[in-house]
C-alpha cells in the first residue's frame, strides 16, 4: 500500500497576533524600561536583594535592573508546571499551548439568585460557587469568584475564602491572599492536605495570585507574597492589571512593553531570592473606557492584548495566565454573551495556559453563579471549534460517500453512528422549531441556565475533605482569626 509522505496537519486552527520580530521589539523595549526607568519597590528585603546584585537602587526605592540579570533569571524558571486538586485528581498541566479555564476571584458583589439584586458577597456564596465549579466539566481550575466579605476580620478573609472553596471543590486553585502572612497560612493548609512541604513542591495544589500596581510600582504586601512564594517554591503569577490610557500607554504595544517590564522585575527579584520557583506570567491588559472610566473587561482590546501577551510568554518560555469569559454588563444579557464569548475565543486561540476571570460580570466587580454555568457552555463551543478537524482516511469518509452514493442518505449509516458524538452537544441552547418552542413556554437560554444552576446546587455532592485534615485546616483558620482579633 502506498504511504503518505511530507503531510502536515493542523492540530486546530493556527493563530498568532505577533511575529517573532515584533516580540523581540517588545522584549527589547521592556529591558530598556528596566534599565532606564526602573520600578519602585516598597519592601526592605527586596531593595536589599537588588542592592546586593548588579541592579541599582536610587531615590530610596527605585530599582533599575540590567538585561544580563533578567536573562540569567529567565533561564531558571520551570517550563512546565503541574497542578492538582486536593484529592490528587483533576491535574492541570501548564505546558505550551495547553488551555485550561477557571473562574476569577474576589468579586465584592454578588447577584442574589432569589431577588436578582446585587449585594455583598458572603462565605456561603463562595461556597456555592465552589460547588458549581467542582461540577462544571469545562473548568479545570478554580478561583473564588467572590470575596468573603463576612469574615470576622478583613485581614483574614483569605483563609476563610480558601476554606469555603476547599469544602466544595476538588480542582486545583489560584488563590489571592492578604499579605505574606496570609499566603503562609494558605500554604500551611495546602501542605496539610498534600502531606508536607516537599510533597507540595512536587504536587502544588494552588498558585498564588499576586499583582504589581501599574505603572511600575510594587507594594509591600505583593512583594512579601512573591518572596515567600520564591522561598517555598510555591507557583505564583505576577499579573499586571494596567488600564491602557490611565495606568499604561494608550497604545497596545506600549501597554505590553510596560506590563512585560513589570513582569520581568518579578522575574529578576524572585531569582535573586531563590532561583527556580514556578513563576507564571500574567496580565489583565485592557483599556480604561474613556466615557465611563471603567476598567473594561469586555473590550476587544483586552482580547487583543492578552493574546499578544500570550505570544510573548511562549517566546520567553514562561507559562501564561490569561483572561477571558468576562463582561462589563451588570446582568446576564446580550452584552454579556457577546463579550464573554469573544474573549474566550481569542484566549483559547492564543494558546494561553490558564484562562481566568471566566464568568465575571460588572467589569470585574459582580459575581454570578448563572454566569459561571453559561460560560461552561460557551467554552464547550470554543473547544469544539479549536479542536480543528481530522483529515485521516476515516474522517475524509471517501468509502462512506461511495457506499451512500448519489441521492442516498447518511442518517442510517454506521459511519454517522460512529462519528456524530464528536460534535458539540448544546445543553442550554434551544435548537427546536418555533411551534415546539412555543408550546414549551418560550423558554430561552436564561431559563435553561437558571434551571441548570439550581440543579447543580441541589444535586452535586463534592468529595468531602477527610475529617482529620478538615480539623487541622479549621485550626489554622481559627488561629489566624485569634492573631487578628
Amino acid at each position: 500500500m502506498a504511504t503518505k509522505m511530507n503531510q502536515t496537519n493542523n492540530q486546530g486552527p493556527q493563530f498568532e497576533v505577533l511575529t517573532e520580530s515584533q516580540i523581540e521589539q517588545i522584549y527589547a523595549s521592556a529591558l530598556d524600561v528596566l534599565e532606564s526607568v526602573g520600578a519602585r519597590f516598597h519592601h526592605e528585603e527586596a531593595l536589599e536583594l537588588f542592592n546586593n546584585s548588579e541592579a541599582v537602587v536610587t531615590d530610596k526605592n527605585l530599582v533599575r535592573v540590567p538585561a544580563s540579570l533578567v536573562e540569567r533569571a529567565l533561564r531558571s524558571y520551570p517550563r512546565s508546571i503541574y497542578l492538582q486538586g486536593r484529592n490528587g485528581k483533576n491535574q492541570v498541566r501548564l505546558v505550551p499551548n495547553e488551555v485550561a479555564y477557571g473562574t476569577g476571584s474576589d468579586l465584592p458583589f454578588f447577584i442574589d439568585r432569589e431577588t436578582g439584586d446585587r449585594r455583598s458577597t458572603s462565605y456561603k456564596d463562595v461556597n456555592d460557587a465552589a460547588r458549581i465549579l467542582d461540577y462544571l466539566p469545562n473548568y479545570e481550575f478554580h478561583m473564588s469568584h467572590g470575596i468573603v466579605c463576612d469574615a470576622p476580620n478583613p485581614q483574614t478573609y483569605d483563609r476563610h475564602q480558601y476554606l469555603a472553596m476547599l469544602e466544595n471543590s476538588t480542582k486545583p486553585m489560584v488563590l489571592t491572599s492578604v499579605d505574606g502572612e496570609g499566603l503562609e497560612d494558605l500554604w500551611r493548609i495546602a501542605t496539610t492536605l498534600v502531606g508536607g512541604e516537599d510533597e507540595f513542591r512536587l504536587k502544588p495544589q494552588f498558585v498564588a495570585y499576586i499583582e504589581p500596581i501599574s505603572p511600575l510600582n510594587n507594594d509591600r504586601t505583593a512583594v512579601e507574597k512573591l518572596l515567600f512564594a520564591a522561598e517555598k517554591g510555591i507557583p505564583a503569577m505576577y499579573t499586571p492589571c494596567p488600564s491602557s490610557g490611565a495606568t499604561a500607554p494608550a497604545t497596545m504595544a506600549g501597554m505590553l512593553v510596560q506590563s512585560l517590564a513589570e513582569t520581568l522585575m518579578a522575574v529578576a527579584l524572585c531569582h535573586l531570592k531563590k532561583p527556580g520557583m514556578p513563576l507564571i506570567m500574567g496580565g489583565v491588559t485592557t483599556v480604561m473606557d474613556m466615557h465611563t472610566t471603567t476598567y473594561s473587561y469586555g473590550a476587544p482590546e483586552l482580547s487583543l492584548a492578552c493574546a499578544a501577551n500570550t505570544d510573548i510568554s511562549k517566546w520567553l518560555g514562561l507559562r501564561m495566565f490569561s483572561t477571558g469569559g468576562c463582561s462589563d454588563s451588570k446582568t446576564l444579557d446580550e452584552q454579556t454573551a457577546v463579550e464573554q464569548m469573544t474573549s474566550l475565543f481569542y484566549a483559547h486561540l492564543s494558546g494561553a495556559n490558564l484562562v481566568h476571570d471566566v464568568g465575571y460580570i460588572g467589569s470585574g466587580t459582580i459575581a454570578s453563579l448563572d454566569s459561571l454555568v453559561l460560560n461552561d457552555e460557551l467554552i464547550g463551543m470554543v473547544r469544539k471549534f479549536c479542536e480543528g478537524l481530522n483529515t485521516d482516511e476515516d474522517h475524509l469518509a471517501l468509502d462512506t460517500i461511495r457506499e451512500v452514493g448519489p441521492a442516498g442518505e447518511y442518517l442510517t449509516h454506521e459511519h454517522t453512528f460512529e462519528h456524530w458524538r464528536e460534535w458539540f452537544m448544546p445543553k442550554l441552547q434551544d435548537r427546536s422549531d418555533w411551534d415546539t418552542w412555543n408550546t414549551n413556554n418560550q423558554k430561552t437560554m436564561i431559563d435553561y441556565l437558571k434551571e441548570e444552576t439550581d440543579r447543580i446546587l441541589n444535586e452535586h455532592e463534592p468529595e468531602p475533605i477527610e475529617p482529620d485534615q478538615y480539623k487541622e485546616i479549621k485550626k489554622i483558620v481559627h488561629e489566624a482569626d485569634e492573631r487578628h482579633s
Binding site: I147, I213, T247, T292, T293
Partner: protein, 212 residues
C-alpha cells in the same frame, strides 16, 4: 464683554490651558469682574463640557484637559475672588487610605473636582488616619474625599471617620467615599455623608453636599 466671556468658555471647552489663562487675565484687565469671569465664562464652559461628556460627544481625556485648563484659570481667579469677598466652589481634600497604593481613581476624582472649580488638595496614597485629620485641620476643606480599592483597606475609611470624631472635627467637614468595592450601603454603614461610584458623579455629589 459678553463675546469675550463666550470666547473664554470656548477656549475652556477646547482645553487650551495657556490660551485660557491669557484670556482670563485680559478680561480682568479689561474690567470684567472675577465673578463674571467665574460664573459666565468658566463655570458655563465646564457645564458645557459636562453636558457634552454626558451626551457622549466628549470623552475623558478631553474632559480632563478642560479640567486642567480650568484649574490653571482658577489660580488667577481665586485670589481676586477672595479680595472681592466672593467664594470659589470650595475646598476639597482627597487621599487614598492606609496600605492602599492604588491612586488612579482618586487622581481622576481630584482632576474632575479641579475642573468644577474646587481648590483641591491631593494628599496622596497609603495615608494614616492622622494625615487626614491634620489635613482637615490645616486646609479646612468643605469636603474630604477618600478612596480604597481593596476590601482589606476599605475599613480604613471608617477609621478615618472615627478619628475625625475623636478629634472633634467630624461636623466641620463633609465626607465622601469611593472605590470599586465601596457601595452606597457601605458608605452609610461607616457614617460617610456621600458616596460616588465614579469621578463625574463625585463632582455632582460634591455640589449637592455644598448646597445641603
Amino acid at each position: 464683554m459678553e463675546e469675550k466671556l463666550g470666547s473664554i468658555s470656548q477656549t475652556l471647552i477646547e482645553g487650551k490651558a495657556d490660551e485660557l489663562q491669557k484670556q482670563v487675565q485680559e478680561a480682568l484687565d479689561g474690567g470684567a469682574t472675577p465673578e463674571d469671569v467665574m460664573n459666565q465664562a468658566l463655570v458655563a464652559g465646564m457645564d458645557a463640557v459636562g453636558q457634552q461628556w454626558k451626551a457622549g460627544d466628549m470623552f475623558i481625556p478631553e474632559v480632563i484637559r478642560s479640567a486642567k485648563a480650568m484649574s490653571g484659570a482658577m489660580d488667577i481667579i481665586r485670589p481676586k475672588l477672595s479680595e472681592s469677598g466672593g467664594a470659589g466652589s470650595g475646598t476639597f481634600v482627597i487621599g487614598t487610605v492606609l496600605r492602599d497604593l492604588h491612586d488612579i481613581g482618586k487622581d481622576l476624582v481630584a482632576m474632575m473636582m479641579e475642573g468644577a472649580g474646587f481648590k483641591v488638595v491631593n494628599l496622596g496614597i497609603d495615608l494614616d488616619a492622622e494625615v487626614f485629620v491634620d489635613a482637615v485641620k490645616e486646609h479646612k476643606p468643605d469636603i474630604l474625599g477618600m478612596s480604597a480599592l481593596l476590601t482589606t483597606t476599605m475599613p480604613q475609611m471608617g477609621e478615618v471617620i472615627n478619628a475625625l470624631k475623636e478629634a472633634g472635627i467630624r461636623d466641620q467637614v463633609k465626607v465622601m467615599v469611593g472605590g470599586a468595592p465601596v457601595s452606597e450601603e457601605y458608605a452609610e454603614e461607616i457614617g460617610a455623608d456621600s458616596y460616588a461610584p465614579n469621578a463625574a458623579t463625585a463632582v455632582d455629589k460634591a455640589k449637592e453636599l455644598l448646597q445641603a
